[in-house]
Subunit: 103 residues, 2 copies
DNA sequence: ATGACGCATTGACATCCTTCTATGTGATGT
DNA sequence: ACATCACATAGAAGGATGTCAATGCGTCAT
């Protein structure tokens, strides 16, 4: 439960950077290798590598090694768990509704 | 388009902190005043105020002032726009699929 | 008016994050 | 074996972020 919060925070933290959002936009067009991402992003190669590690660790992106190339794609499970969290948040549970405290 | 990225990043950045996630969990039970959030969170009052500002600025929470009390609740529109972004990311558009670059 | 209360703002400090250059590692080709 | 290529890792620098104590600002009651 408490570790759930940690994982959720890591997931959304991963989504909270402009360059990583651009990367995800690119990946929404399908699996891409690192070199293609690199030429689309105006960052250096180590910076891209750093962002890809964060995205993979958070679970929203998965990597596939093929020879010396690295192919990245969006992980459906990662997106699903993010969506599941948003749903849980949205579900303003009327049953849980409590009396206002201050009036 | 570019400002969309900024707004999206701000929204997910707001979701990427453990205490703010706890706040949203509390708010999923319905509107709450700041004092209730405060006693549930083991942070000081200025820290809570700071987090509430970030959540409100990102659009995922809205505040309602009533006398000297501040009531916070989850903004459906904010959650929707977050969900919309996740959907856009998920939609692995087969039409946009391109030839792999490196093989 | 004055004091108490609820919350916001300021300023300081420590930590984390993003980015870079430099270097390491593993696979491919000659 | 050696050079080259694609990517990862290490280390450093600067900026952003989370937290607190102190203070400010409305609002309410007396």
């Amino acid at each position: 439960m408490e570790s759930d919060i940690k994982k959720t925070a890591a997931l959304f933290k991963a989504l909270g950077d402009e360059n990583r959002i651009r990367i995800l936009h690119l990946l929404s067009g399908g699996e891409k290798c690192a070199c293609k991402l690199l030429e689309a992003l105006s960052v250096t190669q180590p910076t891209l590598s750093h962002h890809m590690k964060i995205l993979c660790d958070s679970g929203i992106v998965k990597g596939r090694k093929e020879g010396k190339w690295m192919h990245y794609s969006i992980s459906q499970e990662g997106v699903d768990s993010a969506r599941r969290y948003l749903d849980a948040m949205t579900a303003v549970n009327a049953a849980k509704e409590e009396k206002p405290c201050c009036e």
